[in-house]
Amino acid sequence: MKRVDHAEASSHFIKATKHLEFHDKRLWDLRQKRDREAEAIPEWEELRAAASAIKEHTLSHLAEYLEQFERNAVANGMYVHWARDAAEHNQIVFSLLEKHAAKILVKSKSMLTEECEMRPFLETRGIEVVETDLGERIQQLDDEPPSHIVVPAVHKLRRDVAQVFSRTIGTDSKNTEVAYLAESQRKDTRPYYLKAGAGMTGANFAVAETGSFVVCTNEGNADLSANLPPLHIASIGIEKLIPRLSDLAVFVRMLSRSALGSPITQMTSHFRAPRPGAEMHVVLVDNGRAERLGMEGFWRSLKCIRCGACMNTCPVYRRSGGLSYGATYSGPIGVIIDPTFNLRKYSALPFASTLNGSCTNVCPVKIDIHDQIYRWRKVIAERGQLPMVKKEAMRMAGKVLSSPKLYRLAVKAAQAGLDYLPRSMIYNPLNAWGKQRELPSAPKQSFREWYLENR
């Protein structure tokens, strides 16, 4: 499989300067709103510590909690299915739709169904799948994956949305007013809730103690998808489990504050049992998670509650856009999850980071994100997945830096070289650093020379 070239892909994103500028500003604004919320809560750090411990506890007893969840969910009247991988998940969903003769599926946002590539699977089998979250719908109609796990169309400007909507749902292409665009999608989507044979949601949390699951949205689209059609299917990754109802307080208090800087999502919905006359099915999906659980140094990424705070704060993400990662999960959390799906394909992603640690600092469940990014770099080097140029550069640097003599010689040579070498010798394909940057001019005197003179 071809390696995703993040740097190459982001160079296209960077060229669209208006988009880049907006993207950077919008996500930084979310980060600042998050800060204001976090700072207003004196117990914020205690909440983070509790959230981290609850998740680590659950993951270290995951089999028990999965069994407890299943037992209680079945007792509540739900059906529980298990899927080893994406293919099994998609087949289970399709079989349910077939059994209920459902031709239209309305669904709220779920990164898991993106991960499983469920939509194309169902569409080739004659199911009309309607994404109901506004951002997700924009991306669906534009035939693009979401570029951010919370705000899927954040890389688009209103005029892009106007273009997509005029092409697909018949809006006036000259009208770029945001309220008009949102209202148009509302009017286009609402009839689908009434005629859909089935509704689908993901889940933010699944509570073992009560056999219930929680979905957080602002648009109310999950509640419409779940509460109108006669069949509700929820796809849930096995890492979404938490032990107790009271634990929800810890996570719900931090989720939207970390994601959007709002105290809570407009709707926090709890599903425990099917409503009369309707069926509720849960699909518990592994798809690599059980394997990740056994990876020393990486299993803590399973604590993630998908708030996107690490993405909003990441200077590389803000300036390269989610699509440039070429994976379901982008930004810092994506960088540490994606290689578990395919090491070779995603071997460039752990290098899309400055290792500044900001992601780790804002993470509400205290995942050691930047440490894991660094660990992935080691794994990728050890398994021979570094591209030739990077490998050679690192090999040379290793040699030079381990010998004081060689190092001093190199410093001298660089001083002279930067002053006298022709540009083509310095700014060539072997110098990735010099692609968008001018190298600084070298000082006349090195620190060592100064030290020897002045000590």
């Binding site: 909440l47 995951l62 945001v178 949102a182 509460n227 929800l248 307080a249 999502t265 919905s269 659980l293």
Partner: protein
């Protein structure tokens, strides 16, 4: 082996060393203002309300509370709520920290009543407001409800350029009428 047993076996094999489950306190340090927090999330607060003055153009009103007489009885199929202009329900309790109201199938009759009508009016006994989410999740009502929503303002979206639009997919407005004895006519 079934997918279930296969997954559970793999999870068991790979579970990291046991970590203890912490006890979480109720964090009563802050005093929260329900009304202020509700308004921040786009909800409206009133201590009394005349439905027809507030919604002069409303034709179809569906009420599940004895205090308000609607002109549309609760249908048996939730999809028949699609043309309702204003729905009226009573919340079991509120959460001051977030300005949320708690609704379940017991209050709603049909879960969709909180989403499919254009506007929602929620009656709330101000004595039934808990300080924060830690208290809320200890409320026994959560364990009885098949469906429960903490609703905080109307449906909203900021998915296009971060511009806030209220009335995304669900209700366009949420009015909470809060009083010891809510007066609604």
């Amino acid at each position: 082996m079934s997918a279930r047993d296969d997954i559970l076996a793999r999870v068991r094999r790979n579970q990291p060393v046991a970590v203890a489950l912490p006890e979480v306190p109720l964090f009563d340090s802050l005093v929260h203002d329900f009304k202020q927090n509700l308004e921040r999330m786009g909800g409206e607060f009133a201590s009394s309300l005349e439905i027809h003055r507030k919604f002069p153009n409303a034709k179809v009103i569906c009420s599940t509370v004895p205090e308000v007489e609607g002109n549309r009885p609760l249908p048996s199929d939730p999809r028949e709520l699609a043309d309702v202009d204003v729905a009226v329900v009573r919340a079991r309790f509120g959460v001051a920290e977030t300005g949320s109201v708690w609704l379940s199938e017991a209050e709603c009759g049909l879960n969709a009543i909180g989403f499919l009508p254009q506007h929602l009016v929620v009656l709330l006994d101000m004595k039934a407001i808990v300080p924060n989410l830690h208290h809320a999740y200890r409320h026994p009502a959560f364990r009885e409800a098949g469906y429960a929503v903490l609703m905080t303002g109307p449906s909203a979206t900021a998915d296009i350029e971060g511009i806030l639009v209220r009335g995304a997919q669900g209700i366009r407005s949420l009015t909470v009428v809060g009083s010891a004895e809510s007066e609604v006519s």
